[in-house]
């Protein structure tokens, strides 16, 4: 009798529970969604890498003029679909945004104004960065094996240029593409063969290579057609980090600037005028391209923050820098005045904000 009661209670409980769980148990974010029919015309997209193997990459949109932030806009505008695993970078061309999603091995193509998905391109080898070339094609660097070439009309990988190693940063000069190549991804930094590869974009062939310091990651072109390359020196302190200036026409190294030995520089970037370099080095360094030495101290100091991403607003020249914190919580974005290094504003971002893409970027 008592047992019967107990069984009834138990049975009831079971079916009560059963009725409750029609949901798919998936990671959810408690961020407030304030974007409904927003279009992203003026501002900056913050690409949040997300945690490796968690597939929680996201994009935050910041409208600095109206001081508004929209979190996870990709999911928001695409029926809750997730962007993927480790979103590395984004570039805009022809009103389309190209988001490189490293560990999902794809480039996600979205409308740059509505952020609704157009297509997804696959066929990469752990893609890193994308360079959009003359509106017709794009070059994608990969951690392994090759550089992929996308036809922007069909949104398909149409060609690959074999490379023995990890390619990272991309810059163009005339019909040449300069890409940094760190060497074999699976080797320690000290055993890699670091160089810059020069690709003829008309033939899609590697036509030259330039030896660099260990682990060249960032590459930009300045207004005088000098190519600047940032070499980290290796994660295992193989050598002193350095900044190299290369003449794009002659393809010769003009000058090597050594950085103070302690630290790991990253995210070399340049302003819209092409006259001032910026990079992270335990703070934000600012260096005019005409300078003959690396500044002795940063314009903006890290103050214990884990500065991780860097971008320069082409419209205002303001510095956008992200703090990834401990990588296991949402990061922040700070906006600084480039003239005095004063903080103008800070914004909440997603998990591991790593790179910036400005709506009016033209370079």
């Amino acid at each position: 009798m008592r047992i019967t009661h107990l069984s009834c209670v138990f049975a009831f409980v079971i079916f009560f529970f059963a009725g409750c769980q029609k949901d798919h148990i998936r990671e959810k974010t408690s961020s407030t969604n304030n974007g409904t029919d927003t279009s992203y015309t003026s501002g900056v997209f913050v690409v949040n890498e997300g945690n490796f193997n968690w597939a929680n990459a996201s994009v935050t949109f910041i409208d600095p003029i109206n001081n508004k932030v929209y979190q996870d806009i990709y999911s928001d505008k695409n029926n809750g679909h997730k962007l993927g695993d480790v979103a590395e970078s984004m570039s805009i061309s022809n009103n389309k945004g190209y988001i490189v999603v490293n560990n999902s091995n794809k480039v996600e193509v979205v409308s740059a104004t509505t952020f609704s998905s157009i297509t997804s391109i696959d066929g990469f080898n752990e893609p890193r960065f994308i360079l959009l070339y003359n509106g017709q094609k794009a070059y994608v660097s990969n951690l392994q094996k090759n550089i992929s070439i996308i036809d922007l009309n069909t949104n398909k990988v149409v060609n690959n240029i074999s490379v023995s190693g990890w390619t990272e940063g991309l810059a163009s000069y005339g019909h040449y593409i300069f890409t940094t190549c760190l060497g074999d991804y699976n080797q320690p930094s000290s055993k890699r063969n670091p160089r810059i590869l020069v690709i003829n974009a008309e033939k899609d062939m590697i036509v030259d290579s330039i030896k660099t310091g260990i682990d060249p990651t960032g590459i930009v072109k300045d207004k005088k057609n000098k190519i600047w390359v940032l070499c980290t020196g290796g994660y295992d302190y193989t050598e002193t980090p350095r900044l190299m200036r290369i003449d794009a026409e002659m393809r010769t190294v003009e000058k090597v600037f050594t950085l103070p030995s302690t630290g790991y520089p990253s995210r070399l970037t340049i302003n819209n005028n092409g006259d001032t370099l910026y990079f992270l080095f335990n703070g934000v360094y600012q260096m005019p391209v005409s300078s003959e030495a690396v500044p002795s101290k940063p314009l903006i100091s890290a103050d214990g923050r884990n500065l991780y991403g860097l971008g320069i607003d082409p419209a205002t020249g303001n510095i956008f820098v992200s703090d990834a914190k401990d990588y296991v919580q949402n990061g922040k974005v700070y906006q600084y005045n480039q003239n005095n290094g004063k903080c103008i504003h800070s914004y909440d971002a997603g998990r591991i904000p790593g790179s910036f893409c400005f709506t009016n970027s033209s370079r």
Binding site: F17, H24, K28
Partner: protein, 640 residues
């Protein structure tokens, strides 16, 4: 009567506690408290002199012979299991601590990898042990230091009455999963031998829902197979001397599936372990002596398209325990531990060794017929450096003669040494790491009641714990080089919680019914930051649910047995700022079996449904888990 109250208690716990919201507040627990119930599972609480130990015995394990330790713990204990998927890595979390803080032991020998500091529970098949003991918090100090959460000890014991017992089982399950076990126990009252073998394999290509495509897809690259073989020899030489020798070899090959939205790959892992030990026990008058020496050899090989990593470790573990009870009301239990680990790993620069020695003494004093106290003092010497002194103190009080209720409390301090990876991982390893420390306190009450005719048995338990862990090791980008991650003593965690259990066994109408419930409330929060503007302070640790509950109903009648297991896991945060989370869920498993007795042979046939309600869930972000799945098991048992 008493039981009517009891139903109300349970009902209020279940209805108002869990379904009302995902959080079962302490408040609703209190509602049931005045009934004096709330307790632990088909397992039972061991006499505890102030410290908590729970045993799960072979009768409960038998229907799960073809599964592994992780699934048994997930269903029957308050140990939270973090699993990367069917057949993939599963690690324990006890009382809001990390997997590093739970020591897994095999007959008292620590088998956590000296490199990683943890054990993959999916690689410990139930077929290889016949009992299980969970030793909570400070109770583990006399066994091994550093287990802030506790110790899970898998145990093998001889049955001296046995003459010959041969068992075999074969299981067939969804996703081309097959399991086979064989065992033979033979001997007499002087000597016993136990031989066990297990084999399992699975294609593990279960269907899961892909949110991205909105379609069901098959899991890829998830197949595994594993096998193991063990031999145990036990000898009672005479009334004073007991000898045991055990050897256990296991090997596992498992492929590592890609994550949802990740790229295809064929990563895989091979694990091999050879564990052996000899043990001598000596009993005379007031003295018990235990001497144990073990050798553990563990090998791991990780392979993917571009690299292969080998990790080999050896551990030589020696223990001596003495118990002297010649003084009235006092027993003195001194002991010595001498351990030696060495590791040869592709991730290290050369061979790394570590020697650990510990001396300790435990004093158990019966102050009074109703009060017992115990004091544990421990001092370890690691690589010739003295680690801080470890004390623990426990007290137990049984106020009544007729009512079987006890109250106990303990306080302890504990230290954990960094793992070999923390110290020696190439370039990243940090030889300057300090020990992690833990300051813990615990209070509990246990009540049990047997009806006069023995047909009803009830056990209830309520425990509260508090543990402040300091200098916890976290891997993070180093200050001088953000690309280089290093382990640092930066974190501080405060874990506090309540464990409540209720166990009822009823014999009625020829049926044997048991109803076991365990509830765990655990608030484990980050307390210290090394970052400016850190949003994690005071927030719940990631992947540690605040509430877990499991309940099992077992009915046995006329050779039939029926088990229903329900386990609830509340929300688990996936961001240290608690900005993202995995929702809570309930899982149900059901077993129906029948025994057929044919003279000396017992044949049993069992059907099992896991994830009965076909819940689409993930335990870890982007790691799909299988939906409803089935298993049929046939067991044959010959007994002479």
């Amino acid at each position: 009567m008493k039981f009517t109250h009891f139903y109300i208690g349970i009902a209020s716990l279940l209805f108002f506690g869990i379904p009302a919201g995902s959080v079962l507040e302490a408040q609703s627990l209190k509602d049931t408290l005045h009934l004096g119930e709330v307790e632990i599972k088909a397992s039972y609480i061991v006499k505890n002199d102030g410290f908590k130990r729970v045993k799960i015995d072979s009768s409960l394990l038998l229907p799960h012979l073809n599964s592994d330790l992780s699934s048994v713990l997930a269903q029957y204990s308050t140990v939270f299991i973090k699993t990367y998927g069917n057949g993939s890595i599963a690690t324990p979390s006890l009382r809001g601590t990390s997997a590093n803080h739970t020591q897994v032991e095999w007959n008292g020998i620590a088998i956590n990898s000296p490199m990683l500091g943890q054990t993959d529970l999916s690689q410990i098949p139930v077929a290889q042990f016949n009992g299980l003991e969970i030793i909570y918090g400070g109770a583990g100090i006399s066994k091994s230091p550093g287990a802030f959460g506790g110790i899970i000890d898998i145990v093998n014991d001889p049955d001296w009455e046995n003459k010959l017992k041969v068992s075999a089982s074969q299981s067939f399950a969804s996703f081309d999963t097959y399991g086979m076990t064989l065992s033979m126990d033979a001997g007499n009252q002087k000597i016993q031998s136990q031989t066990k073998a297990n084999f399992s394999s699975s294609l593990n290509n279960f269907l899961f829902f892909n949110d991205q495509t909105g379609e069901y897809e098959r899991q890829t690259n998830a197949k595994y197979y594993q096998y193991g073989l063990s031999e145990e020899l036990y000898s009672r030489i005479n009334r004073k001397n007991f000898l045991a020798a055990r050897i256990w070899y296991s090997q596992s090959h498992h492929y590592i599936p890609p994550i949802l939205q990740g790229e295809e790959h064929n990563d895989r892992q091979l694990d091999r372990a050879l564990r052996s030990m000899i043990e001598w026990k000596y009993f005379t008058g007031n003295i018990n002596l235990l001497v144990r020496s073990a050798f553990v050899d563990q090998f791991m090989d990780y392979i993917n398209d571009t690299l292969e990593n080998n990790h080999q470790t050896y551990s030589w573990i020696n223990k001596i325990r003495l118990k002297y009870s010649g003084i009235k009301n006092l027993s003195i239990q001194p002991g010595i531990d001498l351990n030696y680990d060495w590791a040869i790993s592709d991730a290290y620069d050369g061979k790394k060794i570590r020697s650990t020695s510990g001396i300790f003494a435990e004093f158990v004093y019966d102050v009074h017929r109703k009060i017992e106290m115990s004091l544990v003092l421990r001092q370890d010497l690691i690589d010739n450096k003295c680690s801080p002194f470890i004390p623990a103190f426990g007290i137990e009080y049984r106020p009544f003669d007729k009512i079987n209720i006890s109250f106990s409390a303990n306080v302890s301090k504990n230290y954990r040494y960094p793992t070999l990876n923390d110290l020696y991982w190439a370039i990243s390893g940090n030889p300057d790491l300090k020990m992690e420390s833990d300051y813990a306190a615990e209070g509990s009450t246990v009540y049990n009641l047997s009806s006069a005719n023995g047909n009803v048995f009830l056990e209830a338990e309520l425990t509260g714990y508090y543990s402040l862990m300091k200098d916890l090791i976290v891997w993070l980008p180093s200050a001088e080089n953000s690309a280089l991650w290093k382990p640092m003593n930066v974190s501080e965690v405060l874990a506090k919680g309540i464990e409540a259990g209720l166990n009822i066994t009823v014999k009625a109408g020829g049926a044997n019914i048991s109803f076991n419930n365990a509830y765990n409330y655990c608030r484990s929060t980050y307390e210290k930051s090394y970052l400016p503007d850190d949003a994690s302070i005071g927030k719940q640790q990631i992947y540690i649910p605040e509430n877990t509950f499991n309940s099992t109903l077992e009915v046995r009648k006329c050779g039939f047995y029926f088990d229903y297991n329900l386990s609830y896991t509340s929300r688990r945060y996936t961001g240290k700022d608690n900005s993202s989370y995995m929702p809570g869920y309930n899982l149900s498993n059901i077993i129906l079996g029948k025994y057929f007795h044919l003279k000396r042979i017992v044949l049993s046939l069992q059907g099992q449904i896991n994830n009965l309600f076909d819940l689409d869930y993930q335990s870890i972000v982007s790691r799909p888990m299988p939906g409803r799945n089935y298993e049929i098991t046939v067991r044959v048992n010959f007994n002479k």
